[in-house]
Symmetry: C2
Subunit: 185 residues, 2 copies
Amino acid sequence: MLEQFLHLVRTRESVRQYLPDPVHPEQVERILEAARLAPSACNAQPWTFIVVNDPEIRNKLADATSNKLIGLNHFTKQAPVHIVVVMEPANLTSRIGSVVKQKHFPLIDIGIAAEHICLAAAAEGLGTCMIGWFHETTVRNVLSIPAKSRPVLIITLGWPANEQPREKRRKGLGDIVRYNQYQSG
Amino acid sequence: MLEQFLHLVRTRESVRQYLPDPVHPEQVERILEAARLAPSACNAQPWTFIVVNDPEIRNKLADATSNKLIGLNHFTKQAPVHIVVVMEPANLTSRIGSVVKQKHFPLIDIGIAAEHICLAAAAEGLGTCMIGWFHETTVRNVLSIPAKSRPVLIITLGWPANEQPREKRRKGLGDIVRYNQYQSG
């Protein structure tokens, strides 16, 4: 069964060209079910997912993620659905951990839940792209996100225009894996 | 195929009781292959994975994750393998993004890669537990991790002593999903 998961991992890629076909709301819900079940530090579940499928609001969001000057993320208007991953204040145990251990656990949690969304979508043949670079104030205003919460990622979702996955450029296992010590050998 | 992924997501849980049986090095490698293929901001791949299977070093690590006073993580000595997820400095594009957008993308990336490990392990019937709360200086010293790099998570890996997965305590979809606006309704 690991081979199936590895196949899914190889299938998932950042999709930047979408067909105009809609994504069924039931599909979106099933994909979000995968995010709902994601683990998080101290089970804080510090997240809200805003599904944006209203064309007007989606276009405003797309404007917040694209930059005409440097040509960034022009594709976002094509994607029929955007899922905005909002980071919420964590529960007390996780917050204490973040302070004492000086690492912000909710960011790790957000990565996990967002990847559950992307893998679940890939399992449906859908394409996604995680976008972390956007105009936060605009997104906050367009979606009325309160000050206590923070939009961290926008995930575009739709049917990929290209069916052939690209080859992944990654470091080799030898470059990233060590045994029993940081320095190998 | 989404059902298969949802099944995997439901299967994965934090395992805190392990059998003494060893995990095959080839299995560990295949699990790490899933982490190797994980996406990251600007494809920075800001990670090193230290596989600790030497009993003596593993016990020292386990001491860094358990706390006799408050009874935290006593189970870590049972797990035959620990995978220490080390965060590396990101590439330039990701670093600029982290500064300009004031969010530390490598922490998100670490969450994604760590969850690939846990899901891949679950697909093999193996149990994992992500631990973020440990004595960082001890871990750093035991594994000779240089100052530029940071151990963020320790994942215990082994055969679960209990085969029956627990029911997950999670918020409902209605509590975490909104449509087109942060405030529903």
